[in-house]
Amino acid sequence: MADLTRADVAHLAGLARIDLSDAELDRMVGELGVILESVATVQQAPTAGVEPMSHPMPLVNVTRPDEVRPSLSPEDALSGAPEADQQRFSVPRILDED
């Protein structure tokens, strides 16, 4: 049953890469509890033996010939980058210093 603790929400926020403030966490714990309790009603539906549905239309994989098509130029692709360098996205460090 839906009993989310503050620590749970902090953990989820970490997984979702959102640096929530203490005030936001406090608020979110209560709100999510109420929402979860409500959505948990799906568990009461008669779903035994029912095939899960992930998509509204029956889909098969769509492929195309492996041919080069026009696409974004490097300038266009980098046009929204917070930082770019030598025709590449420039990002903060991704490794810890040892």
């Binding site: 959102i18 409500s38 799906v42 509204p56 239309m57 769509v62 929204g80």
Partner: protein
């Protein structure tokens, strides 16, 4: 010139231009003037592209003068919801995280609008990443309902509905994941269609929930919606979920408006209790009009619909939490360095940027989705929801054995006051109770005005739902009802809306 160009329908404008009675430049100028006069109060637009719209209009007028064969909608201006990528025009999705982003490409449907020669007037306000039913979750401030500036215009596409309802544009693009085209249409007295899933390309539509999202037309008349539907619909190789079939004959259906012998199914679970009396009364009258036009009424039951809201609020956050992972502060969008951290890592920058860039509703849903998808809870939440989704689709299939279309009120209430439900997410979610089932099953649905509620004098909406790929039936029913209601009212519903230029001066 006796015609008020701002109030003319898209079809009428297309005719006036074809016969040389007006030009696209004149139409665009009239609409931009209207925006200058009223949008300070409405706040329907996040960005107005006067220069671009005039340039497109001028080009269409030049080509027409040169005797070129033009698209029937050439020169008819349109507003586009800010969730569609528009090359050279800002696209924010109502979020701080995309503030100032200018896409380097056009969404397929935007490309089709441009190819048809339709000037794009601007980008319309919306709940952040289309999460909301009131447009109050826009990071740039709410849009106001043209019928009462203290009330919500619906959401997430409140901006598109409000600019069309306040005569700033004859047409707009909306997107509908759980009702974001139809519920705003209902509360503003406008028309909106959610086509069959896959009927309109999602390429360039910033995804909220990929298995539910669908773009569609917003307008003031049924025929206008059909004309726009025909422009934007059809197969697109850039969207692998796009249906490879011709667009249903929507314009023909809207022109004929023939419901003789059609079986209209009233969904037991989507009427009565929980619906405002005035909303229900206008719905009942609309059904009587359809019967008078030759339709037959049957009652259908869809027991699984009672779980639709819960199912939706598991599937949507799950898909959204995954879709919104791309806003990582690395390739585009906001980048915020965390305070008090020396040499922050990419992960810390990501978390700080997402905290600063996302609003409360987006954070709520991302975290809810992260939870529903996490191991240990997946089967209980997301897994169960997927099974109930199947039950809902099965209920639709059974209902469409008995009825050609299903009908219900679009929204349970008329427009509520700004701020009324902002602090109660569950109360906000209930606005979409009648619209959500169609998204879960992927079937097409439309909302059109059914009148004004007696208790508050605000617009009410009538929803029509059709089987997949039978979008034309929506337009047949919509046109038949619109014709009879206009005859009964002596005018369109929107002609009864308050005069905003007076309101704007007083306010």
């Amino acid at each position: 010139m006796t015609t008020d160009l701002t109030r003319a329908s898209a079809a009428a404008l297309a005719n006036l231009m074809a016969t040389g009675e007006t030009s696209s430049v004149e139409v665009v100028r009239a609409l931009l003037d209207r925006t200058a006069a009223v949008d300070g109060k409405i706040h329907g637009y996040l960005h107005v592209d006067a220069e671009g719209a005039i340039a497109t209009a001028r080009e269409v007028d030049r080509r027409r003068a040169a005797g070129e064969e033009l698209h029937v909608m050439a020169g008819v201006p349109i507003a586009v919801k800010d969730v569609m990528a528009t090359k050279g025009l800002p696209t924010t999705c109502g979020s701080r995280i995309l503030e100032g982003w200018v896409p380097p490409y056009d969404a397929t449907l935007v490309r089709r609008l441009r190819a048809a020669g339709m000037p794009i007037l601007g980008k319309t306000n919306m709940d952040e990443f289309a999460m909301g039913s009131s447009t109050e979750h826009s990071a740039y401030g709410p849009t106001h309902n043209p019928w009462d500036l203290d009330r919500i215009p619906g959401g997430s596409g409140g901006g598109s509905a409000a600019v069309v309802g306040s005569f700033q544009a004859p047409l707009a693009i909306g997107t509908d994941t759980g009702g974001s085209i139809r519920q705003p249409a209902a509360v503003t007295g406008t028309v909106g269609t959610k086509p069959t899933y896959g009927g309109v390309s999602r390429y360039g539509l910033v995804a909220l929930a990929s298995s539910l999202d669908q773009a569609g037309p917003v307008s003031r008349t049924i025929l206008d919606a059909a004309l726009l539907h025909a422009v934007i619909g059809g197969h697109d190789p850039m969207d692998s979920t796009s249906i490879d079939a011709p667009v249903p004959p929507v314009v023909e259906a809207a022109t004929k408006g023939d419901v003789a012998g059609m079986r209209i199914g009233i969904v037991k679970e989507l009427t009565g209790e929980g619906f405002q009396p005035g909303v229900q009364r206008r719905f009942d009258e609309a059904v009587e009009h359809l019967v008078a036009a030759g339709a037959e009424v049957v009652e259908v039951s869809a027991p699984s619909f009672t779980y639709a809201l819960a199912t939706y609020y598991l599937i949507l956050p799950s898909e959204a939490s995954s879709n919104l992972a791309k806003f990582d502060a690395m390739r585009y969008g906001l980048r915020v360095w965390p305070e008090g951290v020396d040499d922050a890592s990419a992960e810390q920058v990501m978390a700080a940027s997402r905290d600063a860039g996302f609003g409360p509703e987006v954070k709520r849903r991302i975290i809810l989705g992260t939870y529903a998808l996490s191991s240990g809870y997946y089967d209980a939440y997301y897994g169960s929801a997927q099974k109930v989704r199947r039950l809902i689709a099965d209920d639709f299939a059974a209902a469409f054995e008995k009825a050609d279309v299903l009908v219900s009120p679009t929204a349970p209430t008329t427009a509520f006051r700004l701020g009324d439900k902002l602090d109660d997410p569950l109360a906000m979610y209930l606005n979409d109770i009648a619209t959500i089932p169609a998204n879960l099953a992927g079937v097409p649905a439309m909302s059109l005005p059914s009148g004004l509620a007696d208790e508050d004098g605000l617009p009410t909406g009538f929803q029509v739902i059709a089987p997949a790929l039978r979008d034309d039936r929506l337009y047949a029913v919509g046109a038949a009802l619109e014709r009879r209601l206009h005859a009964a009212w002596g005018a369109s519903l929107l002609s009864k809306a308050p005069d905003l230029t007076t309101l704007a001066k007083e306010g």
